[in-house]
Each structure stands twice: as C-alpha cells, then as structure tokens.
C-alpha cells in the first residue's frame, strides 16, 4: 500500500493515543505496547523510506537545495510566526515525520547534572534509573571519564568513540591552561547495537545519517509496531476534546490527506509533539471550560520557552588538524558547568576567574565542545567554488587542513515573556492559527556567551590559533532545543504537569517532552526527554 491509500481511520479500541512519533512518543509507545496496551501513534509528518537517506544526504551536501527540503519541512503545514526581539527559525529546528527531529539531530546525549534539578519537583536520583534505561534504548557510546558528570550505576552500553587527532592538538593547550577534556556520550553506534550498524563515517550526521548508526526514533516506532502499536502518519492532530466534566480527554481529532477528519478515542493520551507543537495543540484545544487552552488553568501553557545558545571560536593553525572525517564530536568539557565563574590553573597559566562588567549578571552553566568538523569540507568547497580543474584543486588544498574550532552551549533561565502563542492572523493548511514565537536572549545568557568565548579564546590563544570567527553575545543562534512550555511542578497554579508528567487539569493527559523542563541547563536535552518519556509511560501504565 502506498502512503496515500494507507488506512488512516481511527482504531476502534485504544488504550493509549500518543501524539507525535519522535523520540519521546516512540519510546513511550514502545514501552506501553510492550506492557500489553493497545497503542495508536498519530504523527503529523510522513514515514520516510530508509533507502532514501543517501539521496537526502546528497541534498544536504550539494548546493541547489533548500536545507528544509532534506526532511521535507516547510510550506503551509509548517507555517509559523516569529514575533520576538530575536527571530526564531522554527522549521530548521524540527522535523515532522516518523522519527521526528531525531532524524536530523546531532546525537549528543548527556545526563543533566544534579544541580540542574534544584528547581524541579523531581531529583536526579529519581530520574537516574530512567536515564540508564534511556541510554540502553538509544544506544549510547560513552566513557566514565567525565569528572563533572552526575553519578552513574553502570557503564554505557557501548564504549566511547576514541578522541580525534584534533582533540589531541587541543589536549596540549588545555593541559597548559588547566582545562579538563573528557569524552562525549554519543547516541551513535561505536559497534553494532540493537540491529543497527556501527558508524561508518559518512560525516553528515546532522542532518542525515545514511547508515542508521546514529539513533533516530523511527527505530523505536518500528519496535513499538512489532509489539502491536499502530502508527497513523500524515495525521496532524487538530485539537483534543474533553468530557463534560472537563476532567478527561475523550478524543484526539486528526486530519488525513484525503481531506477527512477523524476522532481517535482512548483511555489515556500522551502528548509528544515537541516544545512548540504541544503548547500549540493545547491552545488550539480551548473550550468553554478551558477558554485559555486545554490544561491551562495555570496560564503557563506556552510560557517559559527556553533554548540553548551557541558560542564558538575558530580559525586556523599552523599544522594539520584532520577535520571533517566524521560529523560528530569526541571531546567536550563540563568544567565550567556547575561554576562558570571559576578560574583554572594549568602547567603554564590558566583561565582567569570571571569578572563582571558593570551591571552584568553572573553567567549560568556552560558546556564546551571541541569540534571535529571545523571549517568547510573539501566537497562543500568544490561545489560552491568559482574555479575548475587544477585551480580548484589548489584552492581546496589551501582551504582544507588547518581549521580548528571550539563550540559550546549556554542556557537560558525560564522567563515568562518568552513564549509560544497562537497567531490568529495566519493559518496552516487546515485553517488553524499557527504558533507564534516570542523569544529573546537576555543579559544573563549574553554574559554566559561572553564567558564561553573568553574561555574558548584563552584555549585557542594558548594553541596559537589565528582566530577568524567568533559566535558570541551579538551573533549567537539557538541550538534548537525547545524547552519549558508545559512546565512541571507541584503547584497547579504555577505549572502544567505534575511530577508524574500528567496535566494537573486532566486526569488522563500526559506530556512527554522537553516542554516539561523547569529549567534547561546547558546540555543537549534528548536523553532527559527519553528518560522522562519512559517515566511518563510507567505512570500511564499504572493508571491503565
């Protein structure tokens, strides 16, 4: 059956309806199906053919294609408005389809630090077993060499990817300035794992891994189907309906490509449509009882939107750095995570302590990265060059080989005014108001970016890098981690979901997403999303 004529009518009897087929939805659906429940997944996007991945990779490498076309994002379905002080490129930040945004993610999977949970209603130790299960599920290659990471109970499922040649160059300078490098946990196979091959080094992880060695959630969607779950693709949910008492969701109303609208009823509903899609759906589901949006008695739905911001410094150095062989990183640094103001002492100097400029806030957590893909790759240079033949080859030889760079993430604190609302003046392909993003980068975040650059420049300077670019407070961009828009809490007046990930307002509506994050830290969120999704699934199971 082709995608167009697949049966997209509702399942007659469903225990659980999961909205969204990214990592959170896939893991929750798989767990619940395995526990014997009838599960239906409704996914707005399509099911991509794995065999097409190499052609998608080519689209990503070769100029002449809109980057959004790699995973077929954009168009009327995906309209949005960015109305904040800073533009937010939403469609570059997500993928709709079976596998969701993990189809184009980078695949870095750290546990949040214990300090990150200070304002959360759950502690690290409560999530710790779920983190371990999430690492097993995604297949994480890592090593226990990070002295700043929270405690763990057993080794990673796979050994870490060894450091790169480029890392070894950084290591010399880091030792001299007292900066600790350690491995990166990657959701990427360093050996065959769970039916997927080991990494073969295409070097295009983000946005496409043609080998499937990088984890993507289509893997768990298939596993869920093997346990009996049903997936309805190209079925964007339009709104949720509730019963007369307003205490339970009764149906998810979804559209199908044939122009029909259907109602999927279920005993439990799990929202897993991302940090923008989830608040939008709740706001679209307003009713007489919930005039400000479903599950929004607190008024917090859509508010406290957070992302991580990128900071980086790069340039060239007088030696070969061997970049762009792989598309992932192998070393990072959490030394400035719990205390970004700290100074360091190395064998020949150190990083000075933070010193605030007048009126400048103290920075929050910083994660530093040592890149393995600094500078352009030869093929990218060739395809956009203005020479041919021997001249082109000479330019490629000059341009490739000596680039080096550091990256990093800086977090934002939750701010009520950073939020997702509905733009009633613009509609999508089904006539629904589109999400409107109100977002800005505040002074504390800028201080964090300045501090990250300061550390990065100190390391690069020690190495003798001729710095040619800096991404910092004035030209930073988001890391595409959507957090905070249905925050977790114990007080129904201040939060949307409780510590069991169920909405305060409706007894059978759960949220599995970074949208429940209370704070965002400065680490890539997907492992925490996965852990929370497994936790949410367990609580749903308890109620069924």
């Amino acid at each position: 059956m082709t995608g167009a004529d697949r049966d997209r009518t509702p399942s007659e009897r469903a225990d659980v309806c999961v909205v969204g087929a990214g990592p959170a939805g896939a893991l929750a659906a798989h767990r619940l199906a395995k526990q014997g429940h009838d599960v239906v997944i409704l996914e707005a996007g399509k099911r991509f053919d794995f065999e097409d991945r190499k052609r998608r990779m080519e689209r990503a490498i070769r100029p002449g294609h809109d980057p959004l076309s790699v995973w077929e994002m954009g168009g009327p379905r995906d309209r949005f408005t960015s109305d904040g002080e800073w533009f937010y490129p939403l469609n570059r930040a997500r993928v709709k389809g079976v596998g969701g945004t993990s189809l184009h993610w980078q695949g870095m999977v750290m546990r949040l630090h214990e300090s990150d949970f200070e304002e959360w209603p759950v502690e690290y130790r409560e999530l710790r077993p779920y983190y371990a299960e999430a690492e097993e599920a995604l297949g994480v290659a890592g090593a226990a060499d990070n002295p700043y990471a929270p405690p763990r109970e057993k080794p990673y499922p796979m050994s870490a990817f060894p450091p790169s040649h480029s890392d070894s160059i950084f290591a010399e300078a880091c030792e001299r300035v007292g900066v600790t490098m350690h491995s990166v946990p990657n959701a990427r196979n360093s050996e065959s794992y769970d039916g997927r091959s080991s990494c073969v080094g295409y070097g295009t992880c983000k946005p496409v891994c043609p080998s499937g060695a990088k984890y993507s959630a289509d893997h768990h969607v298939e596993k869920a189907e093997q346990e009996g779950a049903r997936v309805v693709d190209r079925a964007p949910v339009q709104r949720l309906e509730h019963d007369g008492s307003g205490e339970r969701v009764t149906a998810a109303v979804y559209a199908t490509p044939d122009g029909e609208t259907h109602r999927q009823e279920a005993r439990e509903f799990v929202l897993a449509a991302g940090g923008v899609g989830i608040p939008r759906l709740l706001l679209l589901s307003e009713s007489r009882q919930y005039p400000d949006g479903l599950a929004n008695s607190s008024g917090a739905v859509g508010r406290y939107f957070m992302d991580h911001l990128f900071a980086g410094v790069g340039g060239t150095i007088d030696r070969e750095t061997r970049q762009n062989h792989v598309g992932f990183i192998t070393s990072e640094c959490h030394q400035f995570y719990d205390d970004p103001t700290r100074g360091t002492e190395g064998t020949a100097g150190g990083i000075p302590e933070w010193s605030s400029e007048e009126g400048e806030p103290v920075p929050d957590s910083i994660k530093l990265e040592f890149l393995n893909y600094a500078g352009p790759s030869p093929v990218e240079m060739a395809l956009s060059g203005e020479e041919f033949g021997d001249d082109l080859l000479e330019t490629l030889r000059e341009g490739y080989g000596n680039s080096i760079a550091m990256g990093g993430l800086v977090g934002q604190r939750p701010r009520k005014e950073n939020r997702i609302t509905l733009d009633h003046s613009t509609t999508d392909d089904h006539g629904n108001p589109v999400p409107e993003i109100h977002w800005r980068v505040d002074a504390r975040t800028k201080a964090g970016l300045r501090r990250a650059n300061e550390i990065q420049r100190a390391i690069c300077s020690e190495l003798g890098v001729d710095v040619s670019w800096t991404v910092g407070p004035e030209n930073t961009g988001p890391a595409f981690h959507h957090m905070g828009t249905t925050r977790m809490g114990t007080d129904p007046d201040e939060s949307v979901v409780n510590p069991r990930l169920r909405t305060h307002d409706l007894g059978n509506l759960s949220v599995a997403s970074s949208s429940v994050f209370v704070t965002g830290g400065a680490l890539n969120p997907t492992l925490t999303i996965a852990a929370l999704a497994l936790k949410a699934a367990d609580h749903v199971d308890e109620r069924l």
Partner: protein, 174 residues
C-alpha cells in the same frame, strides 16, 4: 593519481545506487538518444575541464558513475541531457561547434562566459545554473566524495563517503 572503477562504484553506493545493476554493467546512459556516444563525449569533455590534470582514469570513472546515477531516475537523466544540449547550443553560437569538439582552453572559456563558474547551482534554474548543477557539480560531487578525490586534497574519508571511523583519529602522514 588514478581514479578507478572502484572509486566510481563507491561514489555510486554512497549516492544510494544499488551497485552492480544492469545499466552500470551493460547499459548506455543515452541509449535512446540519436547520438548516444556524442552525449557521453560531451560529459567527458566537461570532466576534462573541471577535474584536475593529475587524475587519470577519468573516462571509465565518469561512464560508470553517470550510468549508475541515472539508471532509475529518468527525470535526472532528462536534466543532464537538457544541460548538455544547452552547453552545445552556447558552444555552437560562439564557436560553431559542439562543446566536445572544442579544445580544452575554449571549453573552459565557454563555461566561464556562460557564468557557470559563478552560477548558483539550481536544477530548475537558468542555463548556467542547470549546467552547474547537472554537469559541473554532478562531476565534482562524484570526484570529491570518492576516496581518490579525497586523497587529492588530503582527506582519506571525505564527507559523503563511508570510509570508517579510523582516519579521524590518525595524525598527518610523516
């Protein structure tokens, strides 16, 4: 440095073509064209301009790669044929001869005069944009994602090639 059939097959595999299919082994890229061999000669003529002089084995590499690329993609084949026709039209207008019949220097000047060197590649764009996309960048993509093309620049595992996870760890050769 010699381009081999293995390079072409590796480049094809990386572009999603099932290596060993009929066209690669026996078929002809432009079989239903009135002058199939002329078309292939034109594509090879472009390769002679855009590939560096220190690579050899270009003809077999290009034949193998191009055949595999278009075998199950008639639209893509049409795009390539259209771009080759366009290139010949310009060559005939300026030099009274098809592109393949021009000497190397004149071929390069045709591409430059058309603005192919500075054109943004676009499969549905202007004449230079299509020539850049279907011919020049097609050939450059094949070369510089192949192991031999990577080695020319100093990278054994170029982006787009599944060359494993060993080379990123190694330092430069002595």
């Amino acid at each position: 440095m010699e381009l081999t059939r293995r390079d072409a097959l590796a480049a094809l595999a990386a572009s999603g073509v099932a290596v060993g299919t009929g066209a690669v082994l026996n078929g002809d890229l432009f079989a239903d064209d009135p002058e199939p061999e002329d078309r292939m000669d034109s594509l090879l003529a472009v390769a002679e301009v855009v590939y560096p002089s220190e690579v050899s084995g270009v003809e077999e590499f290009v034949r193998t790669y191009a055949l595999g690329r278009v075998e199950d993609r008639p639209d893509y084949r049409d795009g390539m044929v259209g771009a080759l026709s366009t290139l010949d039209e310009y060559a005939r207008t300026w030099h009274d001869a098809d592109f393949r019949r021009l000497d190397d220097e004149t071929r390069e000047s045709v591409l430059d005069q058309m603005g192919v060197d500075t054109a943004s590649p676009d499969p549905e764009g202007s004449d230079p944009a299509r020539v850049r996309y279907y011919l020049v960048n097609e050939l450059l993509y094949a070369l510089y994602t192949s192991p031999t093309g990577g080695e020319l620049v100093g990278i054994e595992n170029p982006q787009g090639h599944p060359g494993g996870t060993g080379s990123y760890r190694r330092g430069p050769r002595g």
